[in-house]
Amino acid sequence: MSQKNRIKGGLIDRSKEIKFRFNDKWFRGHPGDTLASALLANDQLLVGRSFKYHRPRGVFTDGSEEPNALVHLRDGAYQEPNTRATMVELFDGLNATSQNHRGSLEYDLLAVNDFFSPFLSAGFYYKTFMWPKAFWEKLYEPIIRSAAGLGRLSMKDDPDKYDKGFLHCDLLVIGAGPSGLMAALTAARAGARVILADEDFRPGGRLNSETLELGGMSGTDWAAETAAELASMDNVRLMPRTTVYGAYDHGIYGALERCTDHLADGGGKPRQVLWRIYSKRAVLAAGATERPIAFGNNDRPGIMLAGAVRSYANRYAVTPGKHVAVFTNNDNGWRTAADLVAKGLEVPVIVDSRDKPAPIDLPGVRHIAGEAVMNTIGRKGVKSITLTNGKVFPVDALAVSGGWNPNVHLTCHQRGRPTWRDDLCAFVPGGDLPVGMAVAGAANGSMTLAAALAEGQAQATAQLDAFGIKTKAADLPQAEDEPREAAAFWHVRQSKHRAWVDRQNDVTVKDIKLANTEGFRSVELLKRYTTMGMATDQGKTSNIAGLAILAEERGKTIPEVGTTIFRPPYTPVPIGALAGRARGKDFRPYRLTPSHKWAEENGASFVTVGNWLRAEWYTRPGEKGWRDSVDREARAARTSVGICDVTTLGKIDIQGKDAGAFLDKVYANTFSTLKVGRVRYGLMLREDGICYDDGTTARMGENHYVMTTTTANAVTVFRRLEFARQCLWPDMDVHLISTTDGWAQFAVAGPKSRDLLRKVIDADHDISNEAFPFMACGHVTVCGGTTARLFRISFSGEMAYEIAVPARFGNSMMAVLNEAGKEFNAAPYGTEALGVMRIEKGHCTGNELNGQTTAHNIGLGKMVSQKKECIGQVLAQRPELTREDAVRLVGFRPVDRDKKLIAGSHFLNKHAPSDMEHDQGWMTSVAYSPNLGHHIGLGFIKSGHERMGEIVRAVSPVHGTEMEVEIVSAHFVDPEGERLRG
């Protein structure tokens, strides 16, 4: 198909041709085109269907404010919905499809909605789908959902890459129009570090769309020259295709750079980068957005904003038709007529709502003053327009200008409110700007070229001056103050047909009036009731008209009605860009234990524990399921010796003259009395008296302790200790350092553990039971002189040690221990066997210390010392927390020993009803005990310590299970602890 609407001139490269597809039809365009301009060039005015009524719609704007020309871009997993054709740079092989129709774009089956429009008014869903209630979930919602929305997701994983980055600058200039370029140039020439970001791929803003002269050359040339100078400077980062979408605290801005979206093949580079820009100061030069006028059938393809028509003609060498009428309420709209005439196109009529003489003399163009366009005729385009005076003009396109709105959005991201300017009939930035931001050019209501340039320079100068960079006074390029007078004129009252205010959400003048009649009078309510201003364009072209109509209905002024709040993002940001690289396994980092490699080589399966990957069991040949492995490992540790990497436990090195006194404050029990060379179990409380964490702490020297924490709380315990040290007892002589990563630590547990360690620990260290009894600790060497620490502690309940070596020896230490253990049939064990053995011994973990239980509950109430001050001690004594009939930690076994216990079951007395009122407690941990041959459990039950032998019911409504269990001691294995001391 030929580019029938292509005209002369423009900033496109006619020497090259680009082939692209729209709805499976091939078209041609040129480098420099957007998808929108290329579609217009090929006379493809119909681009999509509207949201609610499925009306034919076309390109309406030339920028990111586009409400209607939304398409699916690319295909397969790469498909992206709701892409604005006005922002898509054309590339070879581009594939786009239209959205929101059943059947073809030309013959959309859902266009039937348009005939039902009298019923589909504001609040239709709220009013209609009220009853019967049961219909909602099964019937109404699925139907509405299938019909709702515009684009469709690919429903596949996004194969594109996204990244994030950080940038720093003295001055961030947002927008590379005349004002932004001038601001950036002023700052850059003064030596400041400048970032200039613009959403367009070509710097210049409106200069590329207008025929204005500047400094004796065309505005386009000036923009290109200025951008080239900026690009050549080391202190400037020019960022085209970059939208600054949010203004955050302390001079931080969010920006989205579209890096490879304009390329057929991204070459493996990230598609988009989300930047966080740290600026000392910023100049917002975001320009202005033109707004339409509401009149009957004002939504047909071929009806466009006047500035956009100008932009397509001047920049893209494209016209939506050969006979383009203009409808305006301001001087600026006249420029469209002038530029089109200059391009040799016919402008049959310019309708100006103001009853005043022509601001520009345009021979051959009929000027009708004081009238308006009331209706249009056509189906997939415009055939004619009807004026309020009844005159009909055949046209094939209509350019509409209702004036311009400064883009104040970023000035409001910190709750700033814009103020109304009567002379512009528009909101301009208010006084409460984000700290460090200044506004220049059209964004600030300086609507003419000369004023925009001057303000860009002045704001940059003032911003740099604020932190001591002096700019040289440079002459501004010569430019004119073009006529810009405007009048308030929002909608054509005489229109009898539906007049669209919000083209993206199909909100009409009537809908707004109806919402007001029904009581939705606040502008925020109006937005939510009618959906005006929602979705991808956030009402950039519609909000003001909506407010004006609401104000009119309420008999108020627009500033009295106010605006809705502008929030980030300015334009849509893909979720993929917000996620960056943090997806899949990189969603969050994970850590490997020192013996990970050995474990991998020896059949380990891994499980995530906190942010660590730990071996959960080691499968040996012939084992059919995980239970085979776990049972074997638990038995090996009880009968011979087992080895487990316990590096993940937090390790905190505590030194200083007051180290012991400090530990007394942070632990419920006492540590200052602990002898050097001994270890003690410690229980830590929260300040509210609830159990927080537990572990062992070893006294390695007079002023040197080594604390262990649970894996899960390693980070937060350290944080809390620092809080206690710096904020509560700042004069204590104590210092902390986390050594979790410094030492690889292994539990060696079982009756043969000492025999095994004797082969590894150098012979000059006596580890006999007499010299190194239960709860001893000390420095040793292994394998002929390697530094190590030995602790005689036991989580398994067996005679056991933990041996620590510098982390870099961790993997070989694991190998050495297992090699040395071969003669004893030693088995490495994982977290599952570890869990089985601790349940057999009634030791607590996170299941029991779950943030709801006290020392009293776990049977360690006496451990909370009353003789000294410690965190949590006072509130732990609250009556409710120390009730005699409080739940206590005990053991449970099924009465029918073949039954499997269910963690999370609640306990109920034998004949009590199964409800919360009769709840007696809950099961926290269960395991199959290979040493006992049946399932065992730990749990909390009221006064459990006094109920040994009682039979209760364990009920889990979630699993639909109920069984009888017997209350027993939590110490299933070796209750006297003889093995520990052996």
Binding site: D249, H250, D688, F723, Q726, P730
Partner: protein, 95 residues
């Protein structure tokens, strides 16, 4: 947000962990007659001002200093950043 660390200069708030009201420094005397009352207030009752607020931030991804940051909760303006240890000493805390 950017926090001007007294030792390290301006740092992104993302490097810090937030705790809350700097009143947490004023831990009551455990031996006071009304210790239970006092600890209850200390643990559970906080002012929630719209405006100036002294609060505790921990430079976890940095030098592990606890800081007292004076921040306006409405504007996020930070007017003072001190080492919590210095504040604690000024408020009479010792060993």
């Amino acid at each position: 947000m950017i926090i001007d660390h007294p030792l390290l200069g301006p740092r992104d708030a993302a490097e810090f962990v937030y705790l809350g009201d700097a009143a947490l420094i004023d831990r009551p005397d455990w031996q006071a007659d009304d210790a239970m009352e006092q600890f209850h207030s200390y643990g559970y009752l906080r002012d929630n001002p719209a405006g100036q607020h002294q609060e505790l931030w921990y430079h976890e991804q940095g030098d592990r200093s606890w800081l007292v940051v004076t921040r306006n909760t409405v504007t996020h303006e930070i007017t003072a950043v001190e080492l919590a240890r210095d504040v604690a000493r000024k408020r009479g805390r010792g060993k």
